[in-house]
Subunit: 139 residues, 2 copies
């Protein structure tokens, strides 16, 4: 079922996907940046749960499907160029949006020419199983 609001979004510019910025509704903390294709957007709009498109796995990625760290959408916004979405969400599960077990993917700060990890890991992602995450396992 097509959502009316989907037709305004310019998916063509990015070859079928658009960037999606996800922010914690309560704290305003930037949690992650991911991508959606039209199907992911429409599922998110319909269900109220964040569904992205995984470029590395080339399929819909229902956030939390492995970890339980799902996100319920409190508000969706669209930018001026209609090619970027903002999701304002409640983060569930272990409160770790990042596949490395941090609350936010942005856990490193630029400091004197280097990137320094300043956040504390919320959870060891190993608890979600060996196949967890969107990276290929190390060789």
């Amino acid at each position: 079922m097509e959502q009316a609001g989907s037709s305004l979004i310019d998916f063509d510019k990015g070859g079928g996907v658009i960037p999606v910025v996800t922010q914690d509704y309560t704290s305003g903390r930037l949690l992650m940046v991911a991508y959606m294709n039209r199907e992911a957007f429409e599922e998110t709009a319909r269900t109220g749960r964040a569904c992205y498109f995984s470029r590395s796995r080339n399929r819909l990625w229902r956030k939390g499907e492995e970890s339980g760290n799902h996100q319920t959408v409190r508000e969706m916004r669209l930018d001026c160029d209609a090619d970027t979405i903002l999701l304002r969400v409640d983060q569930h599960g272990d409160q770790a949006a990042c596949h490395e077990g941090f609350e936010s993917c942005f856990f490193r700060v630029y400091d004197g020419g280097e990137w320094r990890t300043v956040d504390t890991r919320k959870v060891d992602p190993a608890k979600y199983g060996a196949a967890y995450g969107h990276h290929k396992p190390a060789a």
Copy 2:
């Protein structure tokens, strides 16, 4: 002059550019999403002023160069995949990060299948001149 922190960033994945999310340091409001190439990142790191790469104009875009709405960087963060940057900034000038004159590019909310403008324009962008903005003039 190469910045040490630049080498860690994966510019290749996006064909030489990475998405950059810009957030108001004080309010936490998401202001805009733009792109940087390596040169834009290095200039931003060196000067403390947000410099992006305009994909439509194919050149460095020193934010505020036309409008005076420049941004000073309070903090830069890098995500887990090293392919997205977060800038936490002070927005100057007319407090309008968006080229349409809004504080934030994300001035439309999804509401019942439609995108509804919920923010109030801060400034009429016509004041910056007829050539202002990253869109081609209407034919």
